[in-house]
């Protein structure tokens, strides 16, 4: 167990390191004139030279990368080229938004997806099953920005024009200042994210459940006279949930790295939004930080998922 954890952590660090090299290299060879970008078109050559020196851009790439790593180990992600703000501060302010968005949506899609999947599997070919299948298919095919636009049109615009201004179109209120407003502002984005993500869970749960329900030990349980509900929940669902857990870990981690499109559409100042604006401003320190942070989430999730897998499924041995 410990050995497994150690190996996974080591390989995780290796993956992260490769990503940092890749990202750094990508920006280094990029044809961007950073100093010019920072001080604008009217800069004198002297000023440009000064900035170049300050940022260490005149040094060879390995030295620059070394400085970057050095700062990284001290927990310092550098400063924005655009407004000289500390990247740590920028991320600290964006992270709660993204976490709020991701957690809320995750609860919705997990509960929704799994329960629809279970109902579908228990009564295959029923009306509910067919509706669930179609819903899943649409969710799977739906681009996230399209569902965003649809929700905005129907739940914000149409309702508002008919005098029912139930949902705000955009913005974020922190949970500490007003928990009710926090949820109020996040309902639409939650729904948008949950709808497209739940599709995978409906399918996964349904297929897994059907497979498990067909297995011998479930039939044995049924023939022993254990109540149907108990068989479904205690025996089948537990076994079926293992791959769902895997999927959930990866999806949640990906979202924590920033729900780019959803944050964009609903005007939420989260990590995704931060990343996109910095990309457009060519604000490299911020971009590198967001990319790395997102990768950290994914790598960590992979490890956690593997561990959970072993807990849920006793057949899995960690070696």
């Amino acid at each position: 167990m410990l050995r497994f954890l150690l190996r996974r952590l080591l390989s995780g660090v290796l993956v992260l390191w490769l990503i940092s090299v890749f990202t750094f290299g990508l920006f280094f060879v990029a044809p961007t004139d950073v100093p010019r970008l920072i001080c604008g078109r009217l800069c004198t050559q002297v000023q440009i030279d000064l900035i170049t020196k300050q940022l260490g851009l005149d040094q060879p790439i390995l030295v620059q990368y070394w400085h970057f790593l050095e700062r990284l180990f001290h927990g310092d992600l550098g400063y924005s080229y655009y407004n000289s703000e500390s990247v740590n501060t920028l991320i600290a302010s964006a992270l709660p938004v993204t976490i709020s968005l991701a957690i809320g949506a995750a609860v919705l899609w997990l509960v929704g997806g799994v329960s629809i999947g279970v109902v579908s599997a228990v009564k295959p070919r029923s009306f509910l099953d067919r509706s669930g299948t179609i819903l899943a298919l649409i969710g799977l095919s739906m681009p996230s920005f399209l569902i965003g636009i649809l929700l905005l049109y129907f739940l914000f615009f149409l309702l508002t024009t008919h005098g029912m201004a139930w949902f705000p179109p955009s913005g974020y209120v922190s949970i500490s200042s007003d928990p009710l407003e926090w949820a109020h502002h996040l309902v639409l984005p939650w729904c948008a994210l949950a709808f497209i993500t739940a599709a995978t869970y409906i399918r996964l749960t349904r297929n897994q459940m059907l497979e498990v329900l067909g297995e011998d030990y479930i039939r044995t349980a049924k023939s022993k006279g254990i109540a149907r509900r108990r068989v479904t929940v205690r025996h089948a669902l537990r076994a079926a949930l293992t791959p769902v857990v895997t999927q959930f870990g990866i999806d949640l981690a990906t979202l924590l790295g920033g729900a780019i499109v959803t944050e964009q559409i609903f005007g939420l100042p989260g990590l995704g939004r931060l990343a996109v604006t910095s990309v457009i401003r060519q604000d490299q320190p911020v971009v590198i930080a967001t990319v790395l942070l997102a990768a950290v989430f994914i790598v960590l999730a992979n490890i956690v998922v593997d561990l959970l897998y072993a807990v849920l499924d006793p057949r899995v041995r960690l070696t």
């Binding site: 993956v15 990508l26 295959p124 070919r125 681009p143 399209l146 636009i149 995704g272 990343a275 994914i298």
Partner: protein, 334 residues
């Protein structure tokens, strides 16, 4: 241990052997255990799969729709000519209100116009070109790369596998969309880079599946048989292993195309895809964001086209999977 050894075959093989001596064609007089399988001549697994697929109504309708939009894409200039507007033509007389707003569907513009007075129908038709082109091209590129890498990793094992698997891990750990956006912002947007970026972030998933399959195929006795005949690695990989990978690869390809199409649309939507004024469904939807409140048709038609297309590919992909591997399919559906 004795169980192994008592397998009865010593019961006078000499008698039965001569009776069954068979240099005659099989089925011509051998025992019942070797029946001659008569009339059906060499129906391949693919033909069987196609027969199954043809019974799947949803998949066949989807296939019809995909053929239809492919034709639309191919004939886009002709269709535009018939309709009477080019994809970037601005109709200043009928296509825009005095307030500068889009005009709704009418006999002049069946799908209405956008905020610049351009015909939405023609633009949706042209958007089909980009979506299909990027979707199919990037998927093919990704699948080719994934198959090559996965095959090499699974077949050669050891160091090759370690390096390639790690590479796939790295790609899969990249924050996908974010990195794509970063790439595009640095190296500029356009059709080519979209294809490349999408392929770059999807090949690893294919590679992983192919690697896993290859690992299990590699242990099969027919691979050993090929090796004992003196076949080289390349021959074994492409003649013996690859045909056994085609089923999952084909399924994955069909399911990857809609993902690539959505990805392209998302890039376009964020203003990082194909450069305007070339119409794509994504940039049309992006343009419509400020107008959906007054012109529902502006986001509606490109959105519908996008949704139907991805839906069709997903349905077809499901059908193909069920046909190729009935066990993995939707278990109780007919």
């Amino acid at each position: 241990m004795s169980a192994d050894m008592t397998a009865d075959s010593g019961a006078g093989p000499a008698d039965t052997v001569d009776a069954a001596r068979s240099t005659a064609p099989a089925g011509g007089g051998t025992s019942a255990a070797e029946p001659s399988s008569g009339a059906i001549e060499g129906r391949s697994p693919w033909q069987l799969a196609w027969l199954l697929l043809r019974r799947d109504k949803a998949a066949m309708i989807s296939l019809g729709f995909i053929v239809f939009i492919s034709l639309v894409a191919a004939l886009a200039p002709l269709l535009a000519h018939l309709i009477g507007y080019g994809p970037t033509d601005q109709d200043r007389t009928n296509g825009i209100t005095v307030d500068g707003l889009p005009v709704g569907p009418s006999s002049a513009h069946w799908f209405g116009t956008d905020n610049l007075g351009r015909d939405i129908l023609v633009r949706v038709i042209y958007g089909t070109q980009v979506s299909l082109l990027v979707g199919v091209a990037s998927t093919l590129l990704a699948v080719a790369m994934g198959v090559l890498v996965g095959l090499a990793a699974g077949y050669f094992g050891s160091v090759v596998d370690t390096v390639l698997s790690r590479a796939m891990d790295v790609v899969l750990s990249f924050p996908f969309l974010l990195f794509a956006i970063a790439l595009v912002s640095i190296y500029g947007s356009g059709l080519g880079i979209s294809v490349f970026v999408i392929a770059f972030f999807t090949w690893a998933a294919v590679g992983r599946i192919v690697r896993g399959q290859t690992l299990s195929i590699r242990e099969k006795e027919y691979i050993e048989a090929a090796r004992s005949l003196g076949a080289g690695d390349l021959r074994i990989m492409f003649v013996d292993v690859l045909p056994n990978l085609l089923a999952p690869v084909i399924v994955y390809t069909t399911l990857l195309i809609p993902i690539a199409i959505v990805f392209e649309a998302t890039l376009s939507f964020l203003g990082l895809g194909v450069v305007p004024p070339t119409p794509t469904w994504g940039n049309m939807l992006s343009d419509s964001q400020d107008f959906y409140q007054v012109a529902w048709w502006f986001p509606f038609f490109p959105g519908l086209a996008l949704l139907l297309t991805t839906l069709a590919f997903n349905l077809l992909g499901d059908g193909v999977r069920d046909a190729l591997d009935p066990r993995a399919g939707r278990l109780f559906q007919d």
